[in-house]
Point group: C2
Chain length 309, copies 2
Amino acid sequence: MKKYNLGIDIGGTSIKIGLFDLEGNLLQTDSIRTNKTSKGSFILPELADYIKHKFTIEDIRGIGIGVPGPVAKNMIYSCVNLGWGEKDIVKEFKELLAIDDIIVRVANDANLAAAGEIYKGVASGYINAFMVTLGTGIGGGVIIDGRVVDGINGVAGEIGHTHIDDLFNLDCNCGKSGCLETVASATGIVRLAKEYLRKSNKPSKLRRYPEFSAKKVIDFAKAGDDLATEIIDKSMEYLARVLAKVTYIINPDIFIIGGGISNAGNFIIEKIKKYYYPLVVPFISHTNFEIATLGNEAGMFGACYLVKW
Amino acid sequence: MKKYNLGIDIGGTSIKIGLFDLEGNLLQTDSIRTNKTSKGSFILPELADYIKHKFTIEDIRGIGIGVPGPVAKNMIYSCVNLGWGEKDIVKEFKELLAIDDIIVRVANDANLAAAGEIYKGVASGYINAFMVTLGTGIGGGVIIDGRVVDGINGVAGEIGHTHIDDLFNLDCNCGKSGCLETVASATGIVRLAKEYLRKSNKPSKLRRYPEFSAKKVIDFAKAGDDLATEIIDKSMEYLARVLAKVTYIINPDIFIIGGGISNAGNFIIEKIKKYYYPLVVPFISHTNFEIATLGNEAGMFGACYLVKW
């Protein structure tokens, strides 16, 4: 008797495993270490072993899996964070589980975070959504008509690597420069701040610290520090420019802002709106911008959503 | 007996009416004048009269309609080109036809051009496509999972009004400035050319003409005129930057290039690719860019596609 779905979020450090009932209620969460040795070749076998020992496999209806890399039509082409190259994860995982009548589907973790938020989070009830996750990097997820959009190369939603015509043109991990991620992620805000501190003579409390976090920049901006305010404004202006383009491309019902930076809440939303509205047609007088509510569990919920049908 | 669908494309000058069999073969095309007097209040009544006299209404299964303005969920919010404000066109049109068991659906004309091309044109067989129409203005259409994406405000696909961080920052019809349309549409290419002619001293055959068309700029560029080449390169660079963003948002299977400028064929495609590839991740080594094949009939085919189910 099929009673459960598993929503699994494979990250670079740990793998989160959520046990859900068929209504999508999270019953139990487990976490195991991501074993990245030997190009990540132990990840799936260890995960399969864990599942087989922990759960009665015959009770499981479907397993949704999120991975930190591009996925298209359930195929992984490359997942640097896990050491994986091209991989038919669905086939491999089914073989490891040695059970046939189980639905296994895989998608990019940022896309699944968006799916999680429309399934059980802040965007519950919406069917067209764009989520941007402002963490160490920038992830993005697209949901249209209630479905996760992968894209032909698996890069749908990856706005972190859109080139913004940047004065600073900072080098990005992706090998290019001037990507949104270099100025609007948590690390990007710090990098942008350092550029401002170097290029300007304005006083700022930030100058007291040789190293600081994005949270510190935001906190100082909230407290009225002029230079910190300029930095956050510039960073969110870059983000807003890309979100305005998202509007002119898919015009989603709701923008969901997640990741560490979103802990700044309404302060960040207002900054984004300030730069977003002047870039869109006046009849778009109201766009829903909401802070994500599922936090680190969004990926598990989204993975569960993926196998809900 | 329901034997036909109608695909109707309401333009600012004329209304094209296509009679299709249920397999989507175009059997017959008619065209009537768009009567824009009295805020376009005669458009639908005249169209309904024409249809009732021309066809046996009981034979018609569905009527798809394209309009030159934003449409969301079959509702028109404003259609400046036709003089319309908010309008429940489906309800009105069904009342005018005085028949209930007919499917009437409406969408934006640029979105329907994209639908037409995936239905019976160059993108036949694709289910995820982005089409950009480079005409007097710039239209764009998005198809995901085979469905036309309207967006909550009906602006999905409207990349003509994305702000590009433009040196020239030309005023746009939309009331803003620096929109893609001001430099990459047919009129935009001419405007950009005039800026180049004014700001540079380079010789160019274009200087012989007080007025010229975008086609002339393209023809001179094809013939090796340096300044004309610079202008077309710059224009297509702007377009490519936006298309790279489309890739990072929906990553379509195919980009379709339509409108008058697309008559330049491969010359334009190569210019776009030249600036597109450096902006996307290296593993996107091949993206399909194709010239639209349905021309002015794309809208009718797309309108028919809209009622195919």
